[in-house]
């Protein structure tokens, strides 16, 4: 693993490459800046991202292009569309029959979710409880159980998409694991011409097997290094409050507190303790990624994506923007 000393000299270059990577990716989409910014941020922070929206709003395309642009090796990417009939073996790998004869219950995970670095799960809330429970463990603890023994997974980035977030209590735990959720909306009304032009270009790329976005400026290693750097820097002070004092100015912190409190009390948005801590880290990561320094008020726009339920997402987004004075 990289040390802070190893990372410090190149961290600004890494940041610049990731920024450029982000800008490059945006060229292949129309009016998807918000989604791409979040996807890149979640990729750096290694937090799962949930894209919520109707069919045909570039959810899958965005994730596929992002992962392709990272230049992943064979078996590093896993993608699956879940249904209520999907079995765990389709995600985690089939049971190893040879080992089963010896009385052990092991899965052959090669090329499956536990073995990949980046995963995309479409229609995640349509899966059954067996898969959801396994995913919870993977997201929480980065491990899954093989023959009763916890086994670490290699997964670092998880993207998920859904048309809807069902209003069922048993899905709340899974929904809460996604710190950030973004609603993808159709853009044809505002960007008719650009959408057609970009769509035609994309079809042409597909037909010719040409994928210019794969020449991304940053690699998976860059993302991993930046994450490692952030992890190390969070623990640098070795005393509580040090990171906050150094990187989170008091007025901005107070602003964050006010917004979270307002969302909880007025909009009944559930922000769990775990989520709050993760939010802090994601905001810090965004601040570092965007301007390399302390958190600014504008970085708090991430709070616009903390809505949990389908109907909450647009309300929260609008409210946070209003509170930050960015317009409703």
């Amino acid at each position: 693993m990289w040390t802070l000393e190893e990372l410090e000299p190149e961290i600004d270059d890494i940041r610049a490459r990731i920024q450029q990577h982000r800008r490059g990716l945006k060229e292949y989409f129309v009016a998807r800046d918000e989604e791409i910014d979040l996807a890149i941020l979640c990729a750096v922070a290694q937090e799962p991202l949930l894209l919520v929206g109707p069919p045909g709003t570039a959810k899958s395309d965005l994730v596929v292009k992002l992962t392709e642009s990272l230049g992943l090796g064979a078996g590093d990417y896993f993608e699956y569309m879940l249904t209520k009939f999907t079995e765990p073996s389709e995600i985690l790998g089939p049971i190893d029959i040879a080992v089963l004869k010896e009385g052990r219950y092991l899965r052959r995970t090669r090329g499956m979710l536990p073995d990949c670095r980046v995963a995309f799960l479409d229609e995640i809330f349509k899966s059954n409880s067996a898969i959801l429970n396994t995913l919870l463990t993977i997201l929480n603890e980065r491990k899954f159980y093989q023959d009763g023994q916890p086994t670490p997974v290699r997964l670092v980035m998880l993207f998920a998409a859904t048309n809807d977030i069902p209003d069922q209590s048993e899905l709340e735990a899974m929904a809460d694991r996604f710190i950030l959720k973004i609603e993808t909306k159709p853009v044809k009304d505002r960007h008719f011409e650009e959408l057609i032009d970009a769509g035609v270009m994309n079809e042409s790329y597909r037909a010719s097997g040409h994928k210019p976005w794969t020449r991304g400026a940053a690699s998976l290693d860059d993302f991993l290094k930046l994450k490692r750097f952030m992890d190390l820097s969070f623990g640098m002070g070795r005393e509580p409050g040090r990171d906050r004092a150094q990187w989170f100015p008091r007025p901005v912190f107070a602003e964050m507190r006010r917004i979270v409190r307002a969302l909880e009390t007025e909009d009944k948005v559930m922000v769990s303790d775990r989520k709050l801590v993760k939010l802090y880290k994601v905001i810090r990561t965004q601040a570092f990624l965007n301007h390399g320094g302390a958190v600014q008020t504008s970085d708090l726009n991430l709070l616009a994506y903390v809505g949990n339920r389908r109907d909450e997402i647009p309300v929260v987004a609008s409210k946070v923007k209003a509170l930050l004075g960015l317009g409703g």
């Binding site: 602003e255 006010r258 409190r261 307002a262 007025e266 209003a322 004075g325 409703g328």
Partner: protein
Amino acid sequence: MRFCLLLTGTASDGATLAVLLEAAPFLAERTWSVMLDMSGPASALACEGLDAVLADRLMPRGLPLATASEQDETLVLAPLRGGAPMRWNWWKGRTAPRLVEALRLRRLPGEPLVDEALFVMRSETEAPRLLLERLLLLGRSDAQVVSFVDEAGAGSFAVKVKAPPIYLMMAARDGGGEVAVYGRHGTSSLWVAWSFEHPAPGPAAASLARMNQAALVDREGNWLRTPAEWRVRAIHDAVAPELEAPRVVMRSVESEVRFRVAIRLAPAAITDPDLWLLSPEQLLELEPLIEVSTADELSRLTVARLTGGDGTVYLLRERVRPGTPRMAGRVSDTLGVPGYSQVAGADNLYVPTGRRLMPVLRRDDLRALLGLERAHTVVLTEDRDGPRVVTIAEVDEQPLQRWIDYVATDRRLELDKLLERSVFEFPEVTIEWPKEARQPAPKRPSTREAPVKRAPAPKPVVVEEAARGIDVDAAAHLRALREQVRALEKRVIAGGCDEPEVWQELGEVKAELGDGDEAADCFEMALLHAGPPYDAGLAGRLMAASRGDDSEDSLMEWVVASRRTPAEASRLGASLVARVAAQRPPADELMQLALPIFADPRLPVSRRLAWAVLAGWHHHARDRLGITRAKEAILGGINERGLSELHDLPRFVRHALAREGEDANEESAEARGDRLQQGQLIALEAMWHEASQAGLPEMDAPAAFMRLIFAVGFARLGARGLAQELIAPVELELDVHEIPNRALFRLYMARLAHESSGGSPEVWAAEVGRIVESVRDARLQQAVLWLQKRSMWLRTTNEEESAASKGARYKLPQGVDVGGLAEVVAREVSIGTRTFDYLIAEAVDVCVRRALASGSDAVVAEVLASAEPGLGNIQILSHRAEAVAACIHGAASVGDDAMVGRLLETLVNIARSEKLGSARELVRATQRGLGALRRFGGLEPARGLLEALSRVHAYTSSDQILLSATVATGFVQIGEERVADEVLDTLCAQVLAGSLDYVTRAQGGLAVAQALRHWPNMTRVERFRRFIAALAVFRDTFTASRYYDTHKILILEAIVDSLADSRTRHSDRVQGFLDQEEHALRRRIVTDWSAVCGR
């Protein structure tokens, strides 16, 4: 040194203050010195009245008293009880005019919610602008603003917000003191710094109320008093909105500019076409439809021959008859052409069905553009070059029936015998065509075979000629073949014959007799019942009989065609089956195109042929998934649409069903009466004589109504002369009748003309509107409307449609696929659901129908398993019955006998319940359940249900009658006519007896008349005779009875309508056969599928 009271800033201060005021109440209104510990919540209160003497007196009460002294800016507090003195290094002092104002506020943890907040700030700062802007961004335009001026003349600005945004309060609290925020609960006049509370809010508020004041208390306890009433303004009054943008002013001027706009045809909702423009060849394609249509139906089609630049074209038009099912769909299906629909608002303009004119023009512009006023009919056709305007100056339309009196297809046996006899007995017979045909018939295209018996030619005239030599052997052979056909047909017409050999033999004989279409039907049946892999020889025979062609070129041409006639689709199917059976399967690419064609339930071929194509191919390919999907597609289509009389019923079976009861040599009077329109006419005439036996007095309104009602019936059966005779006296005496009756007579006469001309529903509605409007007096008009709305002939279809539109209010959630139906239905029927019972019942119905349409038994079973346990949660029994019927339909389709049994029991229990509100839904549910049971081979359960229902005693007489009529109809439909007769007799006796109230009796009479439609004509006449004889019992006491007897008229209408209706009885017989065929087809599909899938 001063004596002072020590307060800790906690809840215990309340007790301290209570004791102090009890012991020395005069201290409440004294001036106090307050010393605040700035490093903690404590405070010390000193007062001149609190001296050594008083302190001595208060000490025993346990009050925390101390002496206060200052040492080098440090306040030293020595408790009088002893103990170490307290030293406050950082403290503040102030004075307060009374005790409540001297108390220090207590800090509350977190961010407490308040009912109302007051943000106070200096007017001249930026703070007001920022606050107002943020409030407006948050959509809080309900906030109010207040301005204050203090004694020094300095201005303060305050914003009052109910349910204040916590964000803004926190921002004010956390800010540098530029904005002070106060909160209050309820309507208290005490505003306390937010996040703090006053230790004695009650006394403080009371003190303010006494002085009619309000107060703002800051976090250190300082009171700012104001008058209790404030001059508040709306937030918008305090905002001066700005928009920095250049301004342009425009004014309107008159203009004559006109733009050229191209009119085009755009997609529209598919509606039934009203007319068709046909080539001579296309007109001949109508034959299959003509053969299965009743005379009544054919009388609604008219034909006109047109000539012009395009050569000869035939204009076929359907005369729409209100309340009668349209024929348009069947015509279009048969012809394979979509036809043209009338444009709303333009009586003589037609556009291709499923298209509309875009943009919508004013009627006058449309008339001018297309010359509608100069033409009889204008048809806007469309081809690849765009629209074409076909203007028809004038037309001579004749009923289609006049074109087809050339052969009596349902007398085929006699014709056959005639032909056979002619060989032996009348060898000199020949056929001579009359020189002048009434209407020149189109020539048959040379590509099709032309069987003599179906040739559309004028009536032949038989003349004698000189004898010729004959081939005796050939004639004997022909006769033998026909005998053989009759014997075999008799065997299969009973329905459900699944012996391939019988069908093949019949097919071979028919092929030898030159009847290719019927032979093809038989070969299809033989193939179906033999199952895949299909016999190559048999499949080859099918292809030959269908005139198919199995060359690659022909197959590809048919497969890629954008539209196929039914004949072409049959040829394609037969050819594909033949290729696969002969082990020369077509290319995969071709089959990939062909399979979806045959999986489409709308394809106009028999379902058995569609299945043979799909099953043959998938069996050959050993494609389990493919055959599973094919099974789902075909069964789903059957579930959704049932079998088609036109495509799934072999033609000779149709003829046989039309000749019900006919034997080779004799025909029962009943069947004869039922078969022909003349039979109906005879029945109606008999009834008319029965009704007019006692003579019909002149100038008598009831007699006039009777004449008019019978006249409409006669007109409907084509006896227009007789109809005119009947109404002639009414026309003569019209003016002597009361105004409402006059209008009603006119309405019946208009109905008579309408039946004859076949106008559209819109035309009828307009006619009714005109006549009703002609009655100016509102009261009299009401009397007209009373009957018009109840009469089945006088009401307009719009009223019927509005009643029908009440159905299907439940919509499936968006995005639900068949896999999610079980979940949806389980949610809808669960106890906690907050919806209406009728919506739950509809939800069950919709989910079951969708599941059935999927063709997957597993999906249907899953939906039923989710629905059944929750049916009891539907509280209103009539709605529960509807849901139960939907489930019976589903359970019968998947053959779940146990569930069918349970559901039938539920239905019977509902019928028995005293809580059943209305029997109408129960009747509907019973009819649906019976229909499903018949279709899926559940005759025994159907009989069981009917028997159980026949023993049920409904709660009200009218419900009982409705239920009995349904039961009787059900029995007759499952062939139990004897039992049905018994039930009906009881019912008739009950209706005609004097025990019922007059409304129930009338409802009963109408129900019986409706049920009798399912009986043979002669039985109907017998029953109706009793009704006519006892017509007087159908009296009423409605307000309108001063003018006419509502119930008598309605009963008479129902009787005449029932006698003039041949469709119901015919469709019962056809449906009976189709039900048996469907059952056999289902079994075969499942068997074939199991053979491939091994299940």
